[in-house]
């Protein structure tokens, strides 16, 4: 294989990895704090994308600027879903919770299908197609912004969790629900905020991808499986695991695509996933 093709694939994989990392840390937060397997994660990404689409179509708001609206919007949607649907079943067996989040996924997808139809849509910004050249490698500007945005938001989340009082309360509640309650932390509130943040992360990822990825009511499916692979491979509950996992999946996907024909390339990330779990069933960083 040509060096140029290989390098291009690596760059492409890293750029994708940045977005996967953001999706992953959001899902990781939800699982880490509430021990809930959020099957609706992909659909929430889809909602992020459609929000960006409508803001662009009706109000001509640039997708990247619309983050200022879509992030709080998705946060709010997450909080509402948590309060109304998930909180009542927080003490129930995991299987029941799983089925509920699956139900939310189905509802959101079909709602989108009903409201906006099955046709694929795209957002075309004026600067689409801008490409940066770094010696023999070409970097698509839109993908680069998504990568940078993804990492930036993940970094902000990291700082939030490490340094702020609420962040520490969230970390404390994920380890020790009882211990957090008896020091006066409202675990209910922590759950609301965590689900909100997790949703905001995946919604932001959707917004960042809208300029270069197509929209459809079912687009969430593509990313749901990836999100779970990222989080499980990195170790459920590990922030850094989600980040590294995101990049590993991004890279292996990209390398797979240039080494194997068609969609056979998917074998690379999936095989790596299985191999890693064989040796470290709890994930890389757990």
């Amino acid at each position: 294989m040509e060096l140029r093709v290989l390098l291009q694939a690596i760059v492409s994989g890293l750029l994708t990895g940045g977005v996967y990392a953001l999706i992953g840390v959001g899902l990781n937060l939800i699982f880490g704090v509430m021990k809930i397997i959020n099957f609706a994660h992909g659909s929430l990404l889809m909602l992020g994308m459609y929000s960006t689409y409508w803001l662009f179509t009706f109000f001509k708001i640039d997708p990247y600027l619309s983050l200022a609206i879509t992030v709080p919007l998705l946060f709010l949607i997450g909080v509402i879903i948590q309060k109304v649907l998930i909180n009542p079943i927080i003490e129930y067996p995991e299987n029941n919770q799983l089925v509920l989040t699956m139900g939310v996924m189905l509802f959101l997808e079909n709602l989108a299908l009903f409201l906006w139809g099955p046709d694929f849509r795209t957002v075309k910004v004026s600067y689409v197609g801008t490409v940066l050249s770094l010696s023999i490698v070409r970097v698509n500007l839109l993908r680069f912004i998504a990568f940078a945005g993804g990492l930036l938001l993940a970094l902000l989340l990291y700082i939030f969790l490490k340094k702020t009082d609420m962040g520490k309360a969230i970390r404390a509640s994920s380890e020790e629900r009882e211990g957090a309650s008896v020091v006066g932390i409202s675990v209910k509130r922590v759950h609301l905020i965590s689900f909100g943040i997790g949703t905001a992360c995946v919604g932001a990822a959707g917004t960042l991808m809208t300029p270069f990825f197509y929209l459809s009511p079912h687009v969430g499916h593509l990313f749901l499986l990836t999100a779970f692979m990222v989080v499980v491979m990195g170790g459920m509950g590990s922030f850094i695991g989600a980040i590294i996992g995101g990049f590993i999946i991004g890279l292996t996907e990209s390398l797979g695509a240039v080494t194997l024909p068609g969609s056979l390339g998917q074998i690379i990330p999936f095989s790596l996933f299985v191999i890693i779990l064989l040796f470290k069933p709890t994930g890389l960083f757990k």
């Binding site: 520490k168 970390r171 404390a172 009882e178 211990g179 957090a180 932390i185 409202s186 209910k188």
Partner: protein, 236 residues
């Protein structure tokens, strides 16, 4: 009366764990809760602090009905529960654990800082290990951290659930000394213990629980003198 529990009934599914328990704690007292394993002692204090809900009965803390309240709300009223098994945030540092103990007044930086100083004064080893992860400390140190964290909230009532569990005898002695000191400084304490001998040494009053019921209660001397207590719990 700082804490008053009246006819508490708690069941885990079909299994009745607390069968009509009533007790009272007056400000400034050190009350001990004795009884064998499985008597319901931990269940009782979890119900008092709101971690569990009673199916029947009332609980009043500092004049307010708390039996329907969330545990964090009860903690904010001034009831600090140091749970059995400590419930420390093992991946967070000693200092972070203590600071989270004062979560309810996190906005008041000075109050948190002076609280930290106070706890470090009481348990100097914690100051030494302030930046260490809580999970890396010994059992005795962890227990001190747990008590320190509970004290950071400046509670009106401190509930200690089996603090001596798993600790070496020398550390246990030190622990009871500290509990006595804290109580001497005015803190109302409810001490749940299997180590009846040491608890009665420092307590003002006690309750004996068996199979979910209060079978005995009285002042320290009354319990010391009671034949059943001496036989069953003091080994005399």
């Amino acid at each position: 009366m700082l804490l008053k529990a009246n006819q508490i009934h708690v069941s885990y599914g079909k299994v009745k764990v607390l069968d009509g328990i009533s007790l009272g704690i007056v400000q400034g007292e050190l009350v001990t809760l004795l009884g064998p394993n499985g008597a319901g002692k931990s269940t009782l204090v979890k119900t008092l602090s709101g971690l569990l809900r009673s199916q029947k009965g009332t609980i009043e803390f500092d004049g307010r009905r708390v039996d329907e309240m969330e545990p964090d709300a009860i903690a904010r009223l001034g009831l600090s529960h140091c749970t059995e098994g400590r419930s420390l945030f093992i991946d967070l540092t000693v200092a972070d654990n203590l600071k989270l103990g004062a979560y309810m007044f996190k906005k008041d930086g000075n109050r948190v800082r002076s609280g930290l100083d106070r706890i470090y004064g009481l348990f100097p080893i914690l100051r030494e290990r302030a930046k260490q992860k809580a999970g890396t400390m010994s059992g005795g140190q962890q227990q001190m951290l747990a008590i320190g964290r509970a004290l950071m909230a400046e509670p009106k009532l401190l509930i200690l659930d089996e603090p001596s569990l798993g600790l070496a005898p020398l550390i246990i002695d030190k622990l009871f000394e500290i509990v006595k000191t804290i109580n001497g400084e005015g803190m109302t304490v409810l001490l749940v213990e299997q180590n009846a001998f040491k608890s009665l040494e420092i307590a003002d009053r006690g309750y004996v629980l068996e199979s979910g019921k209060v079978v005995l209660s009285g002042s320290r001397s009354e319990l010391y003198g009671h034949e059943d207590v001496r036989r069953a719990y003091l080994g005399i």
